[in-house]
């Protein structure tokens, strides 16, 4: 997966189609990062056109693991179809969501 480290924050680009198939890869990648000590994580949704409940499930699991480890997660660049799924599922209050990567990094660095 495409990543970038800015000011100690790991920014990970999410997949274009975040469904049950791709979710396995994303989950394995992010959980590996959390268990190897990443404690500031930004999930960048700019490439993501679609997310299903399987994608939401991964974000919830990673956020829980990160919180347990004392880390912080932020999301950024949600397109409107993705945002609608977040809102419908009641996920917007669970995550800090920022307009772009720069804002997200500045908020949690």
């Amino acid at each position: 997966m495409k990543t970038n480290k800015i000011d100690g924050v790991l920014v990970v680009e999410m997949v274009p189609r975040f469904d049950a198939y791709s979710a396995k890869e994303v989950e394995a990648f992010l959980q590996e990062e959390v268990s190897s000590g990443t404690d500031k994580l930004v999930c960048d949704f700019s490439p993501t056109e679609y997310i299903s409940s399987a994608g939401l499930r991964v974000l919830l699991a990673v956020a829980k693991a990160l919180k347990k480890a004392g880390g912080t997660i932020a999301l950024c660049s949600l397109g409107s179809p993705v945002r609608e799924v977040f809102e419908t599922a009641g996920f917007t209050p669970l995550f800090p969501i920022y307009g772009d990567e720069k804002e997200a990094v500045a908020a949690i660095k």
Binding site: R17, D19, A20, Y21, Y50, K64, K67, T88, G90
Partner: protein, 139 residues
């Protein structure tokens, strides 16, 4: 005269086939001139239904099949998802509690809820040893 057009695809019920199943519906909808909002809503609903089916319908190691039928009528889109696995009525899944905070949110249980929210109607029936879930969305 019935102007409803019908297309069907049948594949092994495996997660690797999820994208092909979803794309079959999306291209049928786009060909029929469905708007992007309807396409996006049905993408989610069909994906959730197919994901449940390929994940849970058949016992591990005994993969069966999944069949999608897309009926495009003058006033509505109807997509039926059929499997021949264990009887399961997804409409009986309890709704999630959306007010819980991060620690208390159970992981999972959102798929059927999203399907309901993004469609006009869902119907389930068990017929000839098959589960048939039909998703209905008005034009």
């Amino acid at each position: 005269m019935d102007q409803t057009r019908e297309n069907t695809i049948r594949l092994p019920a495996r997660i690797e086939n999820l994208e092909r199943l979803v794309d079959f519906v999306l291209s049928a909808l786009r060909q029929a001139g469905a708007g992007e909002k309807i396409v996006a809503d049905l993408h989610l609903a069909v994906d959730e239904a197919c994901t449940n089916c390929v994940s849970y319908a058949y016992p591990e190691g005994e993969p069966g099949e999944i069949e999608l039928t897309c009926r495009i009528g003058p006033n509505k889109f109807e997509i039926s998802i059929r499997d021949w696995g264990r009887p399961f009525n997804p409409l009986k899944t309890p709704p999630p509690d959306l007010d819980l905070d991060l620690e208390d949110r159970p992981i999972g249980g959102l798929g059927v809820f999203l399907m309901k929210k993004f469609t006009d109607r869902l119907e389930y029936r068990r017929e000839a040893k098959a589960n048939i879930l039909t998703i209905i969305k008005r034009r």
